[in-house]
Every structure is written in structure tokens, then in C-alpha cells.
Symmetry: C2
Subunit: 323 residues, 2 copies
Amino acid sequence: MLGPGNGVAQDDPPLALVIHGGAGTIRKSDLSSEMEAKYREKVQEALDGGYEILSNGGTALDAVETSIRIMEDSELFNAGKGAVFTAEGKNELDAAIMDGSTLQAGAVAGVTTIKNPISAARAVMEQTTHVLLSGLGADAFAESIGLEIVDPKYFFTQRRWDSLQRAKSREQKAEAHVSSVEHDPYARAMGTVGALALDKEGRLAAATSTGGMTNKRWGRIGDAPLIGAGTYANSKCAVSATGAGEYFIRNVVAHDICARAEYSEISVSEAAETVIFTVLEPDIGGVITLDNQGNPSMPFNTEGMYRGYLLGNGESVVEIYKD
Amino acid sequence: MLGPGNGVAQDDPPLALVIHGGAGTIRKSDLSSEMEAKYREKVQEALDGGYEILSNGGTALDAVETSIRIMEDSELFNAGKGAVFTAEGKNELDAAIMDGSTLQAGAVAGVTTIKNPISAARAVMEQTTHVLLSGLGADAFAESIGLEIVDPKYFFTQRRWDSLQRAKSREQKAEAHVSSVEHDPYARAMGTVGALALDKEGRLAAATSTGGMTNKRWGRIGDAPLIGAGTYANSKCAVSATGAGEYFIRNVVAHDICARAEYSEISVSEAAETVIFTVLEPDIGGVITLDNQGNPSMPFNTEGMYRGYLLGNGESVVEIYKD
């Protein structure tokens, strides 16, 4: 693990990296100590990987992309390799990235062959005039610019396949065509990953990547790739969300937190707590936030959220449960 | 044309319906008087159709859906029947609707066989737990619930086909792979349609429908179907946007207008003018807005915007140009 503050003069703004690995019904009683250790280790690895970029003078954008790629390459999270399955037994991935210093943003939705969707999102931002590309078109774009393409089988994991079978079985029992999945918190988008960073130039960036919701249908797109809903950054505030995506879309959560902070002149963390604990219903999800002074917050209204931060003052936290 | 206020007691909140038919380089010198008359007539027809719902005591949701369907069924606008072509010579349509009184919302992106995408968006809102469905999945959903499905040929219009050929020819000349279209204002998403309504119960609704950008690639999704970007409504404020969609996404324009009004305690129309004239660069597009007292605004920073409103106090406006 890296020491904080490496290579950064004292007068520079404080470096900061904040990460989540999904919110949901995560209870200590449900998670073996072996699995808990794996999650803690991988969140720490993602923090260290991103922070190394920052401490070497790199950009917030590079830091969040690096952290997200580490989590996308792990089976533990519902993003990249560990993405959940759709009702048709496929993996359709979404990701977004935003540069708070320029308001440039890029996102992909419903991609099936891109190993690291977050890098595709970044390429959309940097190599096209568009923000959001979707489906086969987005896959084709990624291939055309040389990103790593994988066979869709790459995203098969037994654990997520079993989750789909359980979701389908619950659905049959409920005889409810659409709503059974979402009302079962276990089937929710637990495991979406997000990262926020503040670099030595004071630039904020936000990134989110997900496989969406187990058993999703009809090309459903959640909040993660939607700028303002699950992902948002400007010069003062960065947010990445995780949870039942539809609620985050309807409440434009990521942008609303930054707007409340700016227009109501409250802190970003106060705005985040207001939205998570008073605007949203309980058991919906959580967010990570970061302001341009390097202050993180990680509020959630579920049982748990994989989360952590690493700050320039040496503070380092990795947590899972509520208490 | 209907008289305003029909069937509504004086103590009820003022009814209001506001419409746009797209913003862009619309100059009096470019539009024949015959075409101008057609546009004015169709905007008036959409206003009257939606207002009739309101004056009969119907909901804001029904009113905006009705107005949008009238414009989707016309060749004049870049939505439904008159949608522009993608680079591959297809028509991929986007639409969103939002009920400000409940924050429920529905949207479809990249659909190719749904005659009236706005009605599919409403079905997503009312018949699923999702907000945004995309691509073939969204088409399949619409068919499964019995919405009117058409052969993709239905969306062929010579005028839009010619626009695509011009865009491709400009692109070849520019030898610029991606950016040539968007930097040519003529090729922009001129003709997106939007509608806002306030009903006798004081409920606001917003709806937007579009064919997107001529010559768009890679499953590009614009701002129209993204809640908070091109479409948003809450209990106090409703917004529908039109223009170069990527700018509206990055600035989360529709939600930002409502957030500025609420948190900075300024009027919705002041907030809209701030965003259109000071946050966005010139020549990007415009919005229509409506507050819960029935006050409309229609600011735009392009040469023109097809637009109009019909209010409970009898005020009726249909305009096209800047002055």
C-alpha cells in the first residue's frame, strides 16, 4: 500500500480517491469472513491503484479509470467480468465517466463485448462529439478504436448465473411479470462500482460501471451511464451512485446533490445526506461524493455498501456494513 | 381552435400547455411562406389537441402525450413519422415522459418500429418498474403490450433522406470522421418536439420525442430520453429541451433549471434564461418551461424555435423566429 501524499508538495490541493463497490442487503451474517476479506482486499487494491496515479501527479480522470478497471477485472463486483445476467442470459454492461473540470462526459449502455466498459466511456468522451453510445453501435465503436474486445462468454461467472436462476424462480412463484425482481432487494444491482478523484490541479472526476440489474429485460438502462443520475462531476462536486437505479434516475440524484450544494450553499456531504436519507425511500442505495477540498462522504440507506477512501492527509478507510 | 378555460371553474389553478417543435437555424429567409404556414398550423393543432384534454378536466400527462402524438404523426418535425436518418440510413427514435406530481418517468431510446414513441415511453412508466428501455428490447416491449407497430419504412421521408445525403457529402468533404455533422448547425437535431402541461389539479407533466441527429452513429442516444437532461418535471417545474443534445446532457439542463429555481429561489423562467443564455454556448438550442402557477417561458439561443403556448387566461402564442 502506498503512503499518502507521495510526490505532492504541501501547497497543492489535497489528493483524494473515493470508491464504492455497490450498496444493498450486505449483512455480516451473510458474508463469510473469507469473502469479506476478498472484498476488503479488492477495494483496497482499487484505492491504491487509483491513488498511485494521483500521487505521481496524474489526472483525476486517469485515477478513476484505473480504479474502476481493477474492479471491472474482478469477479466480485457487478461490473465488467462479474456483471449480472439479463433475463435472456446475456451480460449487458453500462458505464460513464465525467471530467468535472471541463464538464466533458462519455458513457456506454448495453454493451456486450467490451472488456472494460469504463475505458469505452472515456473513449466516447475523448474521441467523439457524443456523450452516450448504446448497444451494438457502442460495441462496434469500441472495436473500431482498438479497445480490448472479448467473447461474451468472458462475462460468465457461476455466481451471477445462479443469481439469475434464483431470480427467475422467484419470478415464477410471484407470477408477476415485471415487478418481482426489483422488489427483491437481493436481486438488485448490488455490486455496481464507482470512483471519484481529486488531483493535484484540483480537478474532480467521477466514474461508474455496472452490469445493471439481474434478470433485466427489454434493453433496460439504469442510472450508472446517465450523466446526472448515477454519475456526475463539476468543478466543485463529484458523485457516483449505486442501488435501485430507477429511483436515482427519477430523482436525478447525482446532479441534485451537486445542485443542492451549490445553489443552497450547503456542503456536498450535507446535500448527499439530505438526498439519501430524506429524498429517497429507505433501502434504495447509496452514493459516494467528493468536493474540491478533498472531503469525501459515503452515505447509504441499505444494510451495507462496499466503500472506502484514501486521502492526502493519510486517512484511509475501507468499510462494508452500516455500523 | 378551442376557447381557453372551457369547463374549468375560476378557482382552479390556471391551465397551461406549452410546445416546441425544435430549435436551430430557422430563418425567415430559409422558410417559404407555405412551409411557415404549415408549421404554424401544426403547432396550433398540437396546442389545441392537448388543451382540449386539459379543458375537459383531463390530466397533464394525457395532454402532453396527445400534443406529442400530433407532432409525431406529422412529417414536419424530427420525431415519429418525420424522424431523421442515422448514418446507416435507419430511423432510431427516442422519447421520454415525466409526471411531475409523482416523479414517475418513462423513456425509450433507439426504437425503430414504434409508430408513437411517446406512448411507448408512457407505457414504460406505467407498466414496468423501469424508466429507460432501449433498442430491440424496447421495440419488443411495445409490441408485447399492443402498441401500434409499423414497418421501419413508415419513417421514410424524402426530405430527411436528402438531409442525410447532404450530411454525408459534407462529411466526405470535411474528411472528419465524427465532428463534421455536429458542427454544421443545419444537420443538427432541428425538429425535436416537446410539450409541457399544467392540469386543473395543479399537476405538471413534460414530454419530449425526437429522431435524434441526422447521420448519427454507434447507437448514439441524445438528451431527449434522458430524465434531467432533455426532459424533467416535478411538482413546481417542467422542462423540455431541443438542440445539440450532448450539451444538454453534460449540463443536465432540464433538471438544472428546476434546481436553480427551487434552491436559489428564483423563478423557473429566470432560471431557464440563465441556463440558455449564460451557461450554454450560443447556437446550442432552447427549452420550454412551465411552473405550477401556469407561467410559461420559451428561451432559445439559436436563430429560431418552433414554439407556442395556450393559457387558461386566453393568451395564445405561436412563434418561429427570434424577433
